[in-house]
C-alpha cells in the first residue's frame, strides 16, 4: 500500500469510527430517554431501541478494529498498551467500587456511568502519556 493510499485509508477509518460513535451515542440517548419523552411505558419499543443500540455498538467496535488495523505498527502498540492499562484499571476500580457498595462503605449505589467515565479518562490519559513517550 503506498502512503497516499495509507493516509486515505486512515482518514476513511477515522471518519467511519466517528460516524459509528456518533450513531451509538444517539441510539444510547434514544434508548435511555425515549421511554421518558417519547413512548412512555411501551416495553416493545424500549426493547427495539435497546436492540438497535446493541447493533450499532457492534458496528462501532468493528469500526474501531478497522481503525486500529489501518495505523502503523508503533501506533498499534500504543493503542494496545493504552487499552491494556484501561482494561486493568477499570477492572480493579470496578470490582473495588462494587465491593464498596455491597459492604456499605459508600452510601450511594454503584453506578456504571462512573465506570464508563473512569474508562474514558484512563484511555485518554494513557494514550497521551504513551504518545509522549514514543515522540
Amino acid at each position: 500500500m503506498n502512503t497516499f493510499a495509507m493516509n486515505t485509508t486512515i482518514k476513511h477509518t477515522i471518519r467511519g469510527l466517528a460516524i459509528w460513535t456518533a450513531a451509538w451515542l444517539v441510539s444510547t440517548a434514544m434508548a435511555v430517554f425515549g421511554p421518558t419523552f417519547l413512548w412512555g411505558s411501551n416495553t416493545l419499543l424500549s426493547a427495539f431501541f435497546i436492540l438497535i443500540n446493541v447493533g450499532v455498538g457492534v458496528g462501532m467496535v468493528m469500526a474501531n478494529i478497522r481503525y486500529i488495523l489501518s495505523v502503523d505498527e508503533m501506533l498499534q502498540k500504543i493503542q494496545l498498551q493504552a487499552m491494556g492499562i484501561t482494561l486493568g484499571i477499570t477492572l480493579i476500580a470496578g470490582i473495588a467500587y462494587s465491593i464498596a457498595d455491597i459492604t456499605n462503605v459508600i452510601s450511594q449505589d454503584a453506578e456504571i456511568s462512573f465506570l464508563v467515565i473512569l474508562m474514558g479518562l484512563t484511555y485518554i490519559t494513557a494514550s497521551a502519556i504513551l504518545n509522549k513517550k514514543y515522540k
Binding site: N2, D72, Y134
Partner: protein, 68 residues
C-alpha cells in the same frame, strides 16, 4: 537496540517525513526508531534494509548480542 537510521537518512538526504512516506509509517514512528524508543518489527526492519540496500545487521545493532 541502537541503529544507524538517522545517519543513513542524512546520507540519502531524506527528511523524517520522506522516509516515513517510503516506509508507509508515520513520521512519529521514524523518529521513535531513530531515537531508540521503538524497535521495528522484522518486516519493517527488512523494508528499511531494502530501502538503503544494506543488511539488517549493518543498520541495527543488538547490544545484548555483543554483551553475550
Amino acid at each position: 537496540m541502537k541503529n544507524r537510521l538517522k545517519v543513513l537518512r542524512a546520507e540519502n538526504d531524506l527528511t523524517q517525513a520522506d522516509l516515513a512516506k517510503r516506509l508507509d509509517v508515520s513520521r512519529q514512528t521514524v523518529n521513535a526508531i531513530e531515537t531508540g524508543k521503538y524497535d521495528p518489527s522484522l518486516p519493517l526492519a527488512f523494508k528499511i534494509a531494502r530501502l538503503f540496500k544494506q543488511q539488517i545487521e549493518q543498520i541495527f545493532d543488538d547490544e545484548e548480542d555483543k554483551a553475550g
